[in-house]
Symmetry: C2
């Protein structure tokens, strides 16, 4: 992903945050993480995020998804005695987020994901998050998510975040921020 | 504090959240914590809060302060080997919050606190938080805060919260929610 493309995506994400009335500093806007997981298909697959704080005890981020953008299935594995794997709470602030976790599959899931990514989506319990709704994902539980037609903003509250330890179902995924 | 008074305060807090475009569920609005610390002077002293999540690993709350309302000085002490005291990050979302922590005292602090509460305010390093600004308070550091003239909203991201363990400088404080 080219640097100028990441900048265009950041601007789109900032517009969504503006719709959500969430204020970032200029520094945070400039340094927003844009992650395409190595697929170079950011409008369909990836996410934008701002990490407000990440200590050895807790973490808080704002995650911004473009319209229809999805983030591939992964889990947060056991790390150590003091970090039994990341536990995270998604709270929808604006727009719509369809979250899928392990559990009873939805009979007619609402997500629309391009065919080439579908074989690696195995968790189909559907959690439809609108502003004010939230859901907590236990460590090691597979999950993925997709924004609705206008995009979405989620506050993520969690234990310590170590993104590079995430385990993705699709072996092609590279979980490195494209631009930081 | 009477139950109907707490309800009036909740309604004022909900209006501030509306100004901030922060969405709560009806349940969250109804159950909003209103804490007057036993002083029965809620418009001056106390806070309103909604705890989104509080696990043995992390906690996230929305704290809503009325215009000029302040919350008295306290610290989060060492609890156990696994909880060395609450660490918390205040992120201002709306309005203005003057946060005071231990450190170099501000020569002309902006806070305006009624005289009867002032003898128990000892931390005077001033942190002026506007939307998008944040500050992390280490465990055991004394702090207190006051909203600006329109009130304020702060997202608090932290390690596990055990409010009843907080140590207040003013011995008159009762840290129990008036109504939950």
């Amino acid at each position: 992903m080219k640097k100028e493309d990441a900048q265009t995506i950041r601007e789109k994400a900032c517009q969504i945050l503006k719709n959500a009335h969430i204020v970032l500093t200029e520094e945070e806007q400039k340094n927003m993480e844009v992650t395409d997981c190595g697929f170079d298909d950011i409008e369909n697959l990836g996410l934008q995020a701002v990490t407000y704080i990440n200590t050895d005890r807790y973490c808080a981020k704002e995650i911004i998804l473009l319209p229809g953008q999805f983030f591939p299935e992964h889990r947060h594995p056991f790390i150590s005695k003091n970090n039994k794997g990341k536990q995270e709470t998604f709270r929808c602030r604006w727009g719509k987020i369809l979250l899928y976790v392990e559990g009873k599959p939805a009979p007619g899931p609402k997500a629309r994901v391009p065919d080439k990514y579908r074989p690696y989506l195995t968790a189909w319990k559907e959690v439809d998050l609108r502003p004010g709704d939230q859901y907590t994902i236990a460590p090691d539980v597979k999950h993925w998510f997709q924004a609705g037609e206008k995009g979405g903003v989620v506050s993520e509250f969690s234990s310590t975040s170590i993104d590079e330890k995430d385990v993705f179902t699709d072996p092609r995924v590279k979980r490195i921020p494209t631009m930081e």
